[in-house]
Amino acid sequence: MNGDEAIAYAVKQCDVDVVAAYPITPQTIIVEKFSEYVANGEVQTEYVCTESEHSAITACLAAGAVGARTFTASASAGLALMHEMLFVTSGARVPVVLAVANRALSAPINIHGDQSDSMAERDSGWIHIYAENAQEAYDSIIQAFKIAEDVNVSLPIFIGVDGFTISHTLERVDTLTDADVREFVGERHYPTVLTHEGKTVPFKLDPANPLTMGPIALQNYYYEFKRQQEEAMKNAYKKIQEINNEYAKLSGRNYGNGLIDTYKLDDAEIAIVVIGSTAGTLKDIVDQLRTKNIKAGILRIRTFRPFPAEELKNALLNVKAIAVMDKSMSPGGLGAALFNEVRNALYDAKQRPIVVNYIFGLGGRDSSPSELHKIYDDLYRIAQSGQPEKTVTYFGLRE
């Protein structure tokens, strides 16, 4: 199945109560497939075909506030339309699961894959996990419910998959049995809160235990609630690793430590840091380089929020030159989002490596293995000379 179908199948197995969504390429297959499950009575899910992504995420948030397990999917302009509600959902501490089939943002309008859409939501307070392939997309959705709904996390989460490269490409996907998934994910649990009636009750809208959600908190309290969200992210940091291990026991599959996934990095002198499907292509290149005794490696960031700064620092301890590949841009900035994050994390390293940025793949621009090979060639030269040549390279652009 393709990545979108794998996601829909995982959602089906997770016994989701409410799915509210609005179609957008390249996510559409997810909601189409899920609609089929609903139409054929294969799921016990209320499917709400909203009139916009804004209402889709709102309906998920509100359903989640009542206590339901909820899912939605989006991409590009749709995710941008959700922008306001992404912040509201994380602030409201409702564990919605969202699949993002990453796609370029307008203008010019473009339906193909890059990560401009989700990188623009960097500070939305969501947990950001990116899959490398359809198998990981399937596995990550199952994990996502368990991470988000953990009572000490209680945060929304998105699973990003590269538009078309993962969403539309057929791959072999091994699935778990429905029973195994049900048991692994379990029922939704709720954190407890103290209400205005002086009762400590589950955090959900229940006429038996009235509580107020979404009030106004002014200068005297707003900041404290934001600090609570940071703590939830710290809890998520541990939880993602625990669940990665737990899932490995069930499925035999794990993705690094859940936060980062490395390839031949232990003795690497040059390395590429990347998010998503490109890591797969790079593995072949690294294998070729290794036959020539070039110590190349890969660090794939699986979890972008909470950002695995310590893991990254330790994993890149002995690397001399690093290329960070960003499938998004920050016009006018010094490099793009992932580069900023990685170079920032390495600032405290004892031996600070040279870190350069490659912007690539915008609007679905293809990068062939032979082209990608050139990045390692650049890194090799930089490592030898000890001098960075260019901080930001627009890779694959006609100059």
Binding site: T195, F203, E224
Partner: protein, 95 residues
């Protein structure tokens, strides 16, 4: 600021822990309703139309009662009273 709780002590997601009935708005008012019991026809129009819910009917005393802890002195009750039993007055200062 010192009385306010820190981030570890407050409930998740800003769920309020107090009912607004502990937030008194009675000191907002300039004018105070003066209720002439002998004129009152107990139609309850005042109690129904009050934006604050500050007027009640006490079945024990069989009378309409004002809760001045919440009354903001808007004067809707006086304006709407069909029996003209309510007059808005500036309260005399108590020394």
């Amino acid at each position: 600021m010192s009385k306010e709780k820190n981030w570890k002590e407050i409930s998740l997601a800003a769920v309020p822990s107090k009912s607004s009935v502990s937030f008194l708005t009675g000191d907002w008012k300039t004018y105070m309703p003066n209720h002439a019991l002998e004129k009152c026809v107990k139609c309850l129009t005042c109690a129904i139309l009050c934006p604050e819910g500050a007027i009640r009917f006490n079945p024990e005393h069989g009378q309409v009662e004002f809760n001045f802890s919440f009354c903001k002195g808007c004067g809707i009750c006086a304006n709407e009273c069909p029996a003209k039993a309510i007059a808005m007055k500036i309260p005399e200062e108590e020394e």
